[in-house]
Amino acid sequence: MGEVIRKSVKPLQVNPHKLSQPMGATLAFLGVDCCMPLMHGGQGCASFTKVYFTRHFSEPIALQTTAVTDVTAILDGGDYSIVESIKNIHSKVSPKLIGLHTTGLPETKGDDIRGVARQIDCPLVYVNTPDYEGGLESGWALTAKALIDQLVEPRSEINAGKVVLVPHVSMQPIEVEKLKDLIASFGFTVVAVPDLSTSLDGHLGEKQASLSSGGVQVAELKQLADAAYVVTVGHSVKGVAAILQKKNPAIRHQHFNHVSGLVGTDALVGWLLEVSGRDLPGAVVERWRKRLQDAMLDSHFALGQTRFLVVGEPDHLVALSASLSEAGGTVALAVATVDSPVLNEIVAEKIIVGDLEDAEKMSDTYELIIGNCHTEALAHRYGKKTVMRGFPNWEQVGNPLKNDILYEGGAYFLFEIANIASQMHEEQQQRIAAQMKQSA
């Protein structure tokens, strides 16, 4: 593994790709069926977040705000803003859950949301997510913990065929679906927490939803503690398992930092074979594994000649760099949004916690960029190519259906990258030829 630089020497972020904890919490609550995420703070935080996810998923996003004003910021401990919000939400819609999460403002003034939540007589989960701490991953993970801690009923018995899956925040809806399907193909019943695979997967619903539609149901959440296994994917959500195990110490925990590429997917399938007691996975799984191996060979030439910049959340970077490096790609630089112990696992020459300005300063070390749509300007400036991944991607449609994981997604991912890399190398050749003609 390469050199890891964790501490920025800058007093600011220039062209940040980092996102806030409250945004991560919103997204997690959107993975619960008929939920109304309620962001406690100034109205702008919710407005920015709503527009942001609307544009990324091309879907209506359910989200409300407690709309704290300068007056309530000083006088109210949250009691008025929150209670009034819940009253107003219920006057229009009937959510099965309110997902109350904080921002910087109420955390600075010290609102006691736990105390307020106790006064409220409707299903509600609260979580503290100040946006001057952590980031998207931690907001998502804290919310997953809160959902389990506050809703799951303790159990002592175990249902041997039940698996709870906790995905990290950067997995797109289709990836969660594919992962659920794979685990289910070994005979398990799978409940994902949170579950974006049915709520933000880009399907055309019956009507314009004012609440989240799809996702894990509140009733299912309550009944999670009889699962035989809790599977966490992504370092950021590793700690969620312990919260579930408190509800039933008999639950066993299996963790994967990622399930991308051949080795990463093999690890998951190997574990599934072991715990299901089967000798073979389904025929489709076998077939896709062979296709991935073939894809690695087909794409290795283009990938092996290419130096990459990847930017994103730490868990996403681990997954992407594993896929690329398995087919010979060199990740010259990985820029993470926030610090994480998992940065040590990223296969890259250099790993930094930083912003897109840091990436820009090292633009001579890489050729092809994999990152969110903010990297497009960077690419234009330096004549590089981009492959859009991560949040946000406002420039393209189809984000919920981008699948990079397991054998199948891994194969398509390598093809996509290799094709763009080849095109890029060809254009580089043409540029050189044009220059030679000019000077001749």
Binding site: P16, Q43, F48, S85, N88
Partner: protein, 450 residues
């Protein structure tokens, strides 16, 4: 005395016509029933098109993380386009406890030495306003140290909505920039364009016409703007507010301080564009200019009419429901009417009192001014047999359900519909929308459905 603008004064704008009867224009948000951006959002919208200035958000990550690079604001500035960049102090828990002023001062110094902007706008946010970071002091010291204007923008989100934020941005510009530099030369036809942000290049649709007439745009706030020009804005002969009324406080105060008169106009659609250009010429009061303008309008309108002929047939008898915000409630309605489309309803939910009066004017007695469009629009489509819904993305389902054409006038807009040429673009897009089979197809029943 504090250098911060008084929010109360800004809410009570004497130049608003409705103010004789009603005091506050900006509604207090309702907890749990609020949509729309906050003051810092509005302030950024107002100032962001200054591509030669750095825009530094002093606060935690949400404020900038979810908002930079969201707007397509064209610039002709040849230096690095700073509107394509995001700067934030991204304060942490330490700053919340021990103050973020030192970090802020260092951040400004970093930006100045690395990007050499013509000015730095420093936006306060809820958290840094609450912990009491002294933006005025830090900016004053930074201005002295770096020799460029560092402008504190006191528009933390919790003080109100976007409209108020735009006003607060105007206050900051008036207090710290306007009148700080003399223009190299002045002409009798110098104007300031206020409130057009050149989104999708709207301003570039009509500015060439002003150039042709010899009307010089001395400065803009802030479409395709330059800091050096807005500093000279006090020497203009006329302030022209384009569409939005949010910056009316600024123009009123410029009238009081510098004696600059102001007019308000829109450049959407044929009628409004012609009226707008003529209003500017008349306000400048030069007979020869007015005559030139009359000729130019006649020429442009004739050219436009000729090119609109093929569309007229497509739009004949077509009815539209319009659900959008603010001034667009009437400005786009006017453009649609110019194309021969009947506008049967428009939403005035987010409009100011002035906007509502204008909307009634354009739609006539029969037109519906929707106050709760979400529940009203489906019913109105049924009642009127409307063929087209123009709205934000959230209303897409209404169109699918009613199997009528849909045009997104909020998020998806990447082309300019401004002025004469923009009207042609709008016509083409609407024609494509009306003829697109997708709305009927996605509403089609599956083979297994009865």
């Amino acid at each position: 005395m504090s250098a911060k603008p008084k929010i109360k004064d800004l809410l009570d704008e004497s130049a608003c016509e409705h103010n004789k009867t009603k005091k506050a224009t900006c509604n207090t948000p309702t907890p749990g029933a609020t949509t729309g951006g906050c003051a810092i959002d509005g302030a950024q919208i107002a100032l962001f098109p200054f591509a030669d200035a750095a825009h530094l958000v002093h606060g935690p990550m949400t404020c900038l993380g979810g908002s930079w690079e969201t707007r397509l604001t064209g610039t002709s500035w040849t230096g690095r386009d700073l509107t394509q960049m995001g700067f934030t102090t991204d304060i942490n828990i330490n700053d919340v406890v021990f103050s973020g002023e030192e970090r802020l001062a260092e951040a400004i110094a970093y930006i100045v030495s690395n990007y050499s902007p013509q000015a730095v706008f420093v936006y306060s946010t809820c958290v840094t306003a609450l912990i009491g970071d002294d933006l005025d002091l830090v900016c004053k010291q930074a201005s002295a140290q770096h020799g460029i204007p560092c402008v504190p923008v006191h528009a933390p989100g919790f003080v109100g909505g976007k409209n108020l934020g735009s006003r607060l941005a105007g206050e900051a510009v008036l207090r710290h920039l306007v009148g700080t530099l003399e223009p190299e030369e002045t002409t009798p036809f110098d104007i300031n364009l206020i409130g057009d942000h050149n989104v999708t290049g709207d301003m570039w649709q009509y500015k060439p016409l002003l150039d042709e007439l010899g009307i010089r745009v001395l400065s803009t706030l802030s479409g395709d703007g330059r800091i050096s020009q807005i500093r000279t804005a006090h020497r203009a002969r006329l302030n022209v507010i384009v569409c939005a009324k949010a910056l009316v406080s600024l123009t009123r105060k410029m009238h009081e301080q510098y004696g600059i008169p102001w007019i308000s106009c829109s450049f959407y659609g044929k009628r409004d564009t012609s009226n707008g250009i003529m209003a500017i010429a008349e306000a400048l009061g030069d007979a020869a200019l007015i005559e030139r303008t009359r000729q130019l309008i006649a020429r442009e309108e004739a050219r436009l009419e000729e090119r609109l002929v093929p569309y007229r047939q497509v739009f004949a008898g077509k009815k539209a429901v319009l659900n959008t915000g603010g001034n667009k409630a009437w400005s786009i309605a006017s453009a649609l009417q110019d194309l021969g489309i009947e506008v049967v309803a428009t939403s005035v939910r987010k409009s100011t009192e002035d906007d509502k009066v204008k909307a009634r004017e354009y739609l006539g007695e029969k037109g519906v001014l929707m106050t709760t469009p979400a529940t009203q629009q489906a019913k109105i489509i049924d009642e009127t047999g409307a063929d087209l819904l123009l709205a934000g993305g959230r209303s897409l389902y209404t169109a699918i359900k009613k199997r009528i054409a849909f045009t997104d006038v909020n998020q998806e807009k990447k082309k300019s519909y401004g002025a004469y040429n923009g009207l042609l673009t709008l016509a083409e897009d609407l024609k494509n929308s009306l003829q697109n089979p997708v709305f009927a197809l996605v509403g089609r029943k599956a083979p297994w459905e009865k």
